[in-house]
């Protein structure tokens, strides 16, 4: 039974922000409908209304010709809607079978029938064409596989409408392909698919129709993507033209600022040696698990080094704790903003001043609030951080704005020499990306040595002066800017059997 979905004039406001303003969206059975827009455009809010997590202030939601009001997540699920959130919800210590059937485990007067569960789960997995062992515990799976399980769960509940929120943000190239195959299968079965992503390449490859949101409004709806250019979508999302979002600016490079020699850690299995010069932007490319994030943690003192040494401006330094690294002028923007970047329930101002205040004032004890407030206001303005005021709790900001706050935390220090950014633009919209690239160049022009770790190859090709490729815990290649090409870098980063 094919379903249809229509959202009419949906509005939703939060204290101080109008998240959605008369947004209209509809999707057809057997098609993949893209929902795109910058961070804070209202995509997540719209999905949450669809999923029954938020209730709209006005407007109507029509499924199969019947108007519905979802008062809870359960009522949305009952109506055949499944939302696959960016953060997946599962029980890591239970098996795939148990996770799939959770809530209605096969039992005999309370006695769990393990064999029935595994047989049922195996049937579902096979029907989906997913090759997974239902006995495996969820925590042993890759993120892509966990996503498969989540989608499978939706299908067991006979969901007709499936929304995927940024599903590929932490998937490797290969895993993305598997996901796409699955999505195309579901389309063939006549499901309605809603696909939220920042990656326009994926939209063009996968989607049939597209709705663009900006600042809580529906800006455009394209019934077909044929004849629509990438630039047009970007312009609709951002509301202005961005010719070259990277805006690469060559700089003159100075002497070696950061020298890393023979560093080994748990995942960095072979000694890593490299250096970054003043004013240079060095890109680190590698798949998830290649050791690139750990290498950055080692340099910053956030993980234990087994051997090796680090020099800054020729001076050997000993780093056992992030405090040592910060004192030597190393700044670090971690990969997972929510888990290790922001203090969610504290204000924008506190998040900006967190590091600087450790040394300011009377030996880092008393706080000069008037100074902190003016610093916060200055950065909010200079970096264009979208927030009602500096007192707003940071968790209410969009990802791009949270990232700017973390950058402000480091820009707030006077003597930053090395800036390490791990996935600085993950989950961030095009407009904010553009601003972050500009900041990266600004830092380099100020004489910082900048390291950018990313799994988005076009991004590194766009901004890096030089690229280092990591694979299986080792730095395997160094590529100068004139030799950058997607094919070349990818073939160096992929494990041999996957090499193109």
């Amino acid at each position: 039974m094919p379903a249809s979905l229509q959202l009419n004039e949906i509005s939703k406001r939060f204290p101080g922000v109008r998240a959605l303003d008369r947004v209209t969206f509809s999707a057809e059975p057997g098609s993949v409908h893209a929902l795109i827009g910058e961070n804070g455009a209202g995509k997540s809010t719209l999905l949450k209304i669809l999923g029954g997590i938020y209730q709209s202030d006005s407007g109507s939601l029509i499924v199969d010709g019947t108007e519905r009001q979802f008062v809870s997540a359960a009522s949305s699920i009952a109506a055949g809607i499944a939302i696959i959130h960016q953060e997946l919800h599962y029980v890591p210590n239970l098996t795939i079978a148990e996770n799939l059937l959770l809530g209605h485990l096969p039992n005999h007067y309370g006695y769990f029938r393990r064999r029935d569960a595994i047989r049922t789960a195996d049937g579902h997995l096979r029907r989906m064409g997913v090759e997974l062992n239902p006995r495996a515990k969820l925590k042993t799976l890759s993120i892509a596989e966990r996503q498969m399980v989540e989608i499978c769960k939706a299908l067991i509940r006979e969901a007709q409408i499936i929304a995927l929120d940024e599903p590929t943000s932490s998937l490797s190239h290969h895993e993305t392909e598997i996901l796409f195959r699955l999505v195309k299968d579901l389309r063939r079965q006549g499901k309605i698919l809603i696909y939220v992503s920042h990656r326009l390449d994926e939209i063009f490859e996968l989607c049939d129709a597209c709705t663009v949101l900006r600042d809580g409004h529906t800006v455009a709806t394209h019934g077909t993507l044929a004849g629509i250019s990438r630039a047009q979508l970007v312009e609709e999302m951002v509301g202005r033209k961005i010719d070259d979002i990277y805006n690469y600016r060559p700089r003159s490079l100075g002497s070696a600022r950061l020298e890393v020699t023979g560093v080994i850690g748990k995942q960095v299995t072979r000694p890593a040696t490299f250096s970054v010069r003043t004013g240079e932007v060095v890109g680190f490319f590698g798949l998830v698990g290649s050791g690139r994030s750990e290498l950055m943690h080692l340099i910053f003192g956030a993980a234990q080094t087994r051997s090796g040494s680090v020099k800054i401006d020729g001076q050997p330094i000993r780093i056992g704790h992030p405090i040592d690294a910060i004192r030597r002028g190393i700044a670090f923007c971690p990969e997972d903003r929510k888990e290790s970047g922001i203090i969610p329930i504290r204000s924008v101002s506190e998040n900006i001043n967190l590091t600087a205040r450790q040394r300011a004032g009377l030996r880092g004890f008393f706080i000069d609030f008037s100074r902190e407030f003016s610093v916060a206001d200055r950065f909010i303005q200079r970096l264009g951080i979208k927030t009602p005021n500096r007192r707003q709790k940071i968790r209410f900001l969009s990802g791009g704005n949270q990232q700017k706050v973390i950058l402000a935390r480091w820009l707030n220090l006077t003597d930053v020499r090395v800036v390490i950014m791990d996935e600085p633009t993950r989950g961030i919209d095009v407009g904010a990306k553009h601003e972050i690239y500009n900041l990266i160049f600004e830092l380099a022009e100020r004489g910082c040595a900048v390291i950018v770790v990313s799994s988005e190859l076009p991004e590194l090709i766009g901004i890096a002066d030089r690229m280092l490729v990591m694979r299986d815990g080792a730095i395997t290649a160094e590529i100068a800017r004139q030799d950058f090409s997607e094919h070349h870098v990818l073939s160096l980063a992929l494990p041999d059997e996957q090499a193109a």
């Binding site: 969610p344 590091t355 450790q358 706080i367 264009g384 601003e435």
Partner: protein, 332 residues
């Protein structure tokens, strides 16, 4: 340099004035609803219960919660940093016994006070090191030290109350200034000092940052482990001080005193809106929490309610407060 963004900050225009001021009043009421509710109840009690709103009764009430109030200040830091401390009750008892014994030997009040503070500091330090550096769960660690320290109190005193005849010692908690007794002044001082520490110093803000997100705090250059040790250390010192004051009030060090003290302290904090998930706390809330506990007990005494029922009422108040708080913050 930076390209200008034509789309600037896009925050919805503020709602009409009357609407917004009404909303603001509502928000302020919700923010301070504990304080408001407490004041309403307090005024009602003042009118309804005889002898409640008298100077003598008010001072008695304040004195009865003075030790809980002092330790609630440091417990607030502990909870705000996402930790937990069950050992404070045992520290109070042991510090009392120890100070009484030292005073009996040296005949010097300050030697006794020093011994109590030092032993509190040491126990707090051990708690902190085990929790921060060996990464043992705080609940388990302090459950263990709670038992051990209570054991030490019994061993040191051979299970008997240690009487003190030193006049200075009795005068220590018995003296008063401007008609208000010493322990109340000390508690007031704690409220002021720890309120200031929490709101206006890096120590306090770091505590909230650690409770809000320990990993982010570490990567931002906060020495998380050292901070946690200091938080427990200070908690131990204040518990030690509370121990001497209690011993002085009852003119003896009693190894079985302050049973369930830690739970009263944690109740007071939770009543005052300190989140057990860490990251948020306010001294005003803690003060109100302490006084809710004290008022409930005081009124029940004035009304001659059987002590056994008082447990029931205390538990019910705690439960009601957290349920209300949960409802209030659920939307966030």
């Amino acid at each position: 340099m930076k390209t200008d963004t034509s789309s600037g900050p896009k925050v919805a225009s503020p709602p009409p004035h009357s609407d917004s001021s009404w909303r603001q009043v509502l928000a302020v009421l919700l923010e301070y609803n504990l304080v408001v509710i407490f004041l309403v109840i307090f005024v009602a009690l003042a009118f309804c219960v005889r002898y409640f709103f008298t100077v003598q009764n008010m001072l008695g009430l304040a004195l009865s919660v003075s030790q809980i109030g002092m330790v609630a200040c440091t417990m607030m830091f502990c909870l705000a940093s996402r930790d937990f401390d069950l050992s404070v009750g045992s520290i109070v008892a042991f510090a009392g016994v120890l100070s009484a014994m030292v005073i009996n030997v040296t005949d010097n009040l300050w030697a006794g006070v020093a011994a109590a503070l030092l032993c509190g500091a040491m126990i707090g330090f051990v708690n902190g090191v085990i929790i921060a550096y060996l990464r043992i769960n705080a609940l388990i660690t302090t459950l263990a030290t709670m038992e051990m320290v209570r054991g030490l109190a019994f061993i040191a005193s051979h299970g008997q109350a240690v009487g003190v005849s030193n006049a200075d010692f009795i005068y220590f908690a018995g003296s008063s200034f401007l008609g208000i007794s010493m322990p109340i002044w000390m508690t007031l001082a704690c409220f002021i000092v720890f309120g200031f520490l929490l709101n206006s110093t890096v120590y306090g803000r770091n505590t909230l940052a650690i409770g809000g997100n320990p990993e982010a705090a570490r990567l931002a250059g906060i020495h998380v482990e050292r901070m946690r040790v200091v938080i427990f250390l200070v908690q131990g010192i204040i518990a030690g001080l509370a121990g001497v004051i209690l011993a002085s009030r009852i003119t003896s060090g009693q190894p079985n005193s302050a049973q369930g003290f830690e739970l009263n302290v944690i109740s007071a904090c939770v009543l005052g809106g300190v989140s057990l998930k860490g990251g948020s706390a306010a001294i005003s809330g803690v003060i109100v929490g302490v006084f809710i506990l004290g008022t409930a007990e005081n009124v029940m005494n004035l009304l001659n309610i059987d002590a056994f029922y008082q447990y029931l009422v205390r538990g019910a108040i705690l439960l009601a407060a957290v349920v209300v708080d949960q409802q209030r913050t659920r939307g966030e």
